[in-house]
């Protein structure tokens, strides 16, 4: 064993020498590996950064949060029916289901392009009607001012909490708290500015206006009752499935669903959403990894090709080494180490390039910062070394099996 480690050290020494003696050619040789590893790392770093930030957002939301949304089954949709969750559903859940808190209705009002205006500036934004419990449920703390409270909701006050982007979009100068702006032609007083959350996939998470739920109901007046979704918090995580079952029974009864009819709503936990999301990220990584694996394979074939040329080129040298007493194993090891060394070097350069590219991509596309997990680093190095071994073995064996006299006579 001591002998082998000695040979490996010596082999590395001479491999380094011959790699750096042909610097440019070594670089070209390993280019396939460089590109392969760089693309793995770029892709993985972007995906991982993205997934880390999503997980963080889910964390903020809490794993004990349940979302209830209307869902129209396919069959019903064909019959022109649209599923609905009503305010009555909300009230029933709030008062009948035990072990839950912060039951919050949310409703999208004034359509997808609601218009907000302020002193001649106007912009379209997302307007949501919700209850004061929204703040606790989603831990949205206002940077300035306050969130609306129970009494705002009860007395249908015309107050609004703005996402920080609205300030810029409407060009609100000075202290926004206490100023008035119009939302779809109705006046609201600004009482709070939510904290900044930033962009995700180019989507501005700070472009919204929150209004008290009852205020929006009053504004809609006699129009058709809006379709809401309900979020709530389960007090004890262990009860989560009972709570879900209870809600399910309650809604089915309320909606008068026949025994064999499908649910016209969906109950989802943050956990479930996170799971689904992680599955998507996982399979994306695997697919991309496969594509990149193929490119690494091509890189490996490039290495083998040049190593074969190099063995032919150095035939005489190999003959000399054998005349000096090198065994087959010495020569085999020398060329194998050279191939692995070359691949690892390519892997290292690829790692740096890939991380650089990943960071660049995430900056350019407003994605969360790129992150290279340790497993990706180890995997790329392992893979590079493996490619070196796999594709180095044929040239190395060819070199090792040369007959000393034939090698020495080689012109």
């Amino acid at each position: 064993m001591a002998n082998l480690s000695f040979k490996i050290i010596e082999g590395t020494r001479s491999a380094g020498q011959s790699i750096f003696a042909h610097g440019f050619r070594s670089f070209l040789t390993t280019l396939g590996i460089i590109i392969g590893v760089a693309s793995v790392i770029a892709v993985v770093s972007v995906v991982q950064g993205f997934s880390a930030s999503i997980s963080q957002q889910f964390d903020g939301m809490g794993t004990n949060v349940i979302n209830i949304e209307p869902y129209t089954p396919r069959k019903a949709r064909l019959q022109g029916v649209t599923a609905k969750i009503s305010y009555d559903d909300f009230l029933e859940i709030k008062h009948q289901v035990k072990g839950i808190s912060n039951v919050t209705p949310t409703v999208r009002v004034f359509g997808p392009n609601a218009v907000a205006a302020y002193r001649g500036q106007s912009t379209s934004t997302m307007v949501i009607g919700t209850a004061s419990t929204y703040q606790k449920l989603y831990t949205v703390y206002p940077d300035f001012g306050r969130f609306f409270n129970l009494s705002d909701d009860k007395s249908r006050r015309r107050v609004a909490v703005l996402g920080p982007s609205i300030i810029n979009k409407l060009d609100i100068k000075g202290d926004p708290i206490g100023q008035h702006l119009s939302v779809s032609g109705e006046w609201f007083k600004v009482i709070g500015i939510a904290e900044k959350r930033g962009k995700l996939f180019g989507f501005d998470q700070d472009d919204f206006i929150l209004l008290p739920y009852s205020t929006t109901r009053a504004l809609l007046g006699g129009a058709e009752e809006p379709n809401i979704s309900i979020s709530l918090q389960v007090d004890d995580m262990n009860n989560i499935s009972q709570v879900k079952q209870h809600i399910k029974n309650l809604l089915r009864r309320n909606h008068k669903l026949a025994k064999d009819a499908a649910d016209d709503f969906k109950i989802a936990t943050a956990d479930q959403m996170l799971d689904t999301f992680n599955q998507i990220i996982g399979s994306t990584t695997v697919v991309l990894g496969g594509i990149v694996g193929i490119s690494l394979l091509v890189g490996g074939i490039g290495i083998m090709n040049i190593m074969l040329v190099s063995v032919t080129e150095r035939t005489r040298e190999i003959g000399i080494q054998k005349a000096l007493g090198a065994t087959r194993f010495d020569i085999l090891l020398q060329f194998l180490i050279e191939a692995v060394f070359l691949c690892l070097l390519g892997g290292l350069i690829g790692l740096l390039l890939g991380f650089g590219a990943g960071s660049l991509i995430s900056v350019a596309t407003d994605l969360p910062p790129a992150a290279v997990p340790m497993w990706a680093v180890l995997l790329s190095f392992g893979f590079s070394a493996g490619i070196g071994l796999l594709f180095g073995i044929i040239p190395a064996a060819k070199a090792a099996n040369l007959d000393p006299i034939d090698a020495l006579r080689y012109e």
């Binding site: 002998n3 040979k7 005489r316 000399i320 000096l324 007493g325 065994t327 087959r328 006299i405 020495l408």
Partner: protein
Amino acid sequence: MSSQKTVIELRDIAKHYMMGSEGFYALNQIDLDIHLNDYIAIVGSSGSGKSTLMNLLGCLDYPSDGEYRLKGTNVATLDENSLADIRNREIGFIFQNFNLLPRASALQNVMQPLVYRGMPLAERKKRALDALTMVGLKDRVGHVPNQLSGGQRQRVAIARALVTKPAILLADEPTGNLDSSTTIEIMALFDQLHRDGQTLIIVTHEQEIADRCRRVITLRDGRLIDDFMNPLSEEQEGANG
């Protein structure tokens, strides 16, 4: 006053080559004993089989027939690794075209055979420097071959062959690519080695070189036609005087 201890025994050695459909013998019916501290010149016209014989002796090639015993061991019975070990420990080979490793410095070239016997770097370096000093190249250790003259390259090759303290030194036309004054220097070095007890076999075309050796072997068409002790050899005179 050298002892008659036998280092090499060749018995009925032949080397046969197939050329197309016809075969021919590059060496045939060679019987030869080489003793400790022998100083041998192998002469013969071009194509007579001198290099072929040297390559067999150096275990770089193998005979098609006959028996080669090195220090009593039948070489034909040895596997690849043992042959490598013999090339490393028992034989120092010097080529007409030097055969230095092109990218390695003089020092690295001389250290190289010691790598194959697992010698640590510090000791390798010390031994290689000693060998280079002996051939008078102490101040050229960092030069790579193409920064050295032909004579200097051959000295590096000699240092490399000697650094392992081999049982026999084989030199195939060592001065073939060198001018006459460099040739004289190299031969003086060989004379010195012989006086120090080294066994040497030198292939040469040059009469002056053959004259310096104690024993001259002549090949013709692959056969050993003459093997005589040289009465004119300076060495012989030195021993008598």
